[in-house]
């Protein structure tokens, strides 16, 4: 599992520019699926059909987003320094000294203008990317070019660190669940969505297209188990988190019940998640067409939206087991 996670997390994929990661995931899922297609917004839709003779198969959509946060060039100044804005939730405090890589392979580092208040975090407008150019003419990037953050995968044993665990870890869980799911009574659609970080857009249109009976997302959630981190009862290593609410969605209580019943029956660890801010693809899925009962299985993740996002491998394997158990049996909702 770790080598695949390394490949997934080190692949370039800012929102709206998911081509590279889609190729990587397509290669993995093709031998495992009954049907693979790409929709108009670039979502990768991977279908596993119900076993022959399955009674009352439910159309179930499972979304894991394959995009990541990044930056976009707003202009290049006469000395070749690149000004930029964020794609998705890019927090200035996480940037200084960071490495970025553009789609064309050019790398750069993030520099800061000098300031009289060194303790303060300057806004993005006071930062720039230095790609080693000496003027605008020889600068290898131009306005509108997109870059992702660069950081190599780090294996700390049970704890794993990478730049885009959000949400490659969800993609990994989906791939491994598909791999482990030998047969299902349901019509299952694993959707590797685009543009989640800028407003759950891929999930919105793919859910409209698929028109599922029910569904859930797989995404990262926050953590409450490092120094100074309070008031959030989710820790790494204590099992996947079953989302009850987040900043943008109230999970359908019937889906929460389904997840908890399955976890308890399989003696799998889980945590109950009440997240105050942020949301996932399930937020968009819930409100398409006449409405969809949805929930979310979260992987607890430290340092979300920094280049060093950390998860616990045991939460990942338990999430896979939980999803396989959920999809292996009939469900009435």
């Amino acid at each position: 599992m770790k080598p695949l996670l390394k490949t997934l997390t080190e692949t370039f994929s800012p929102s709206g520019y998911e081509d590279e990661i889609r190729k990587v995931i397509t290669k993995e899922v093709k031998p495992l699926a009954d049907e693979v297609r790409v929709d108009a917004l670039g979502n990768l839709i991977v279908r596993k059909k119900p076993a022959k003779g399955a009674k009352d198969p439910k159309k179930i959509m499972i979304a894991a987003h394959m995009d990541e946060i990044g930056v976009m060039v707003t202009h290049v100044d006469s000395n070749g320094f690149v000004r930029f804005t964020g794609i998705g939730g890019v927090y200035p405090r996480n940037l200084p000294g960071g490495h970025v890589r553009f789609a064309n392979g050019v790398s750069g580092v993030i520099g800061l203008e000098p300031t009289n208040q060194p303790a303060e975090i300057p806004p993005l407008s006071k930062m720039f990317i230095d790609v080693g150019a000496s003027d605008k003419k020889n600068c290898p990037v131009k306005t509108g070019d997109v870059a992702g953050f660069e950081r190599s995968f780090l294996d700390l044993g049970d704890k794993l660190v990478a730049k885009s665990m959000d949400d490659r870890i969800g993609c990994l869980v989906a791939i491994e669940a598909l791999r482990a799911l030998k047969s299902t009574p349901h019509d299952v659609y694993f959707v590797f969505t685009t543009q989640e970080e800028i407003g759950t857009r891929g999930a919105q249109t793919s859910a409209y297209g698929i028109d599922p009976d029910l569904g859930f997302s797989i995404d990262v959630t926050g953590w409450g188990d490092t120094p100074g981190q309070k008031d959030f009862e989710v820790a790494l290593g204590k099992g996947p988190a079953i989302k009850i609410r987040d900043g943008g969605m109230l999970s359908d209580p019937r889906i929460v019940d389904w997840m908890i019943r399955t976890a308890e029956k399989g003696k799998l660890p889980y945590q109950r998640e009440v997240l105050l801010g942020g949301t996932t693809d399930a937020h968009a899925m819930q409100l398409v067409r006449g409405g969809v009962p949805v929930g979310c299985i979260s992987i607890p993740c430290r340092y979300v939206h920094t280049p060093a996002e950390m998860v616990d491998i045991n939460d990942v394997t338990n999430a896979v087991k939980l999803i396989v158990a959920m999809l292996s049996n009939p469900v009435s909702i």
Partner: protein, 356 residues
Amino acid sequence: MTDILPFFKSIISVSGLSGYETPVATLIEQKWTPLVDELSRSKLGSLHGLKKGSVSVKGSRPSVLIATHMDAIGLMVTRIVDGFIYVTYIGGIDPRVLPGTPVIVHASKSGEELYGVVVMPHTNLLPEGEGTGAMSLKYLMIDTGLTAGEVSKRVSVGDVVAFNTEATEIAGGCVSGHSIDNRASVTALTVCLEELQSKSHLWDVWAVTSTQEETSLGGAQTSAFQIRPTIAIAVDVTFGKGTGVQGWEGHELGKGPTLGIGPTIHPFLHKQFKEVAEKVEIPFAVEPMPSHSSTDGDALQLTAEGVPTMVVSIPMRYMHTPVEMISIKDIQRTGRLLAEFVVSLEADFMTKIAWD
């Protein structure tokens, strides 16, 4: 006209928070069963009552969807420390009014409804400077009277907590209690359905009590997609004139509903409502809604290829507190006005809807 007060008091005496509306939906279902031709729940739990119109047309009969949200604001458990329960909001709540509020904790482990009160720690236990004035939610706790061990056997993170202030009739024909936003409008819609029993109307009426208005407008959005009404009306509460609310944003209690005007609202529907109200002598005020209406109307209008939408509101004081206050007469008037509007819809109404 039947006395609607007992029904109104019954539906503001149960919980039914956003996403967890079943306790109130059950009561409404019972009340509506004899009043409508068909009754069902949507995928997100909204209650759809269809009262069929009498016009026979080729294809489907024109329909008006009337949405009143039945969900209520409340609290949700975030953590439990030494038997004291800490919470976050579902919907928007002013924490200044919470200390002292009686609540019901819906304990998921035991299936019980536990009574509790919202309490605040003693000043000495708070960080410097936090002990005076209004207290932030992060310091407030719920005390159920149980020991720490008994609480953790019953209550989990994610359990919902509802207000439990009593529905009280007070002077001036007013009622005070929790969840009047928007069960007052559910009551008005019930009055409308009762009125329509003895009136003939050409259009189908979809009476909808929507879910999750306080968090996402999700119930109305998805119900409208499923039903695809010809026109839609959102009925909700608006700010009543009183402490802290003066000027054009507030409306007097006891002086009738307000008729919204602004970009959410189709001007022709506003005009029709005004004419009907004048004809049947129901007092009303015009309520400017210069941007959004902050009601289900915002979602109804933008469903599918768009739905001509109207917003009718009932003035209410102390919005989003456990002691909201409303005039019962305004509820009845709103119900009557809705019924009269439905009756006024002629078969060719849509041919008259035009932009000036």
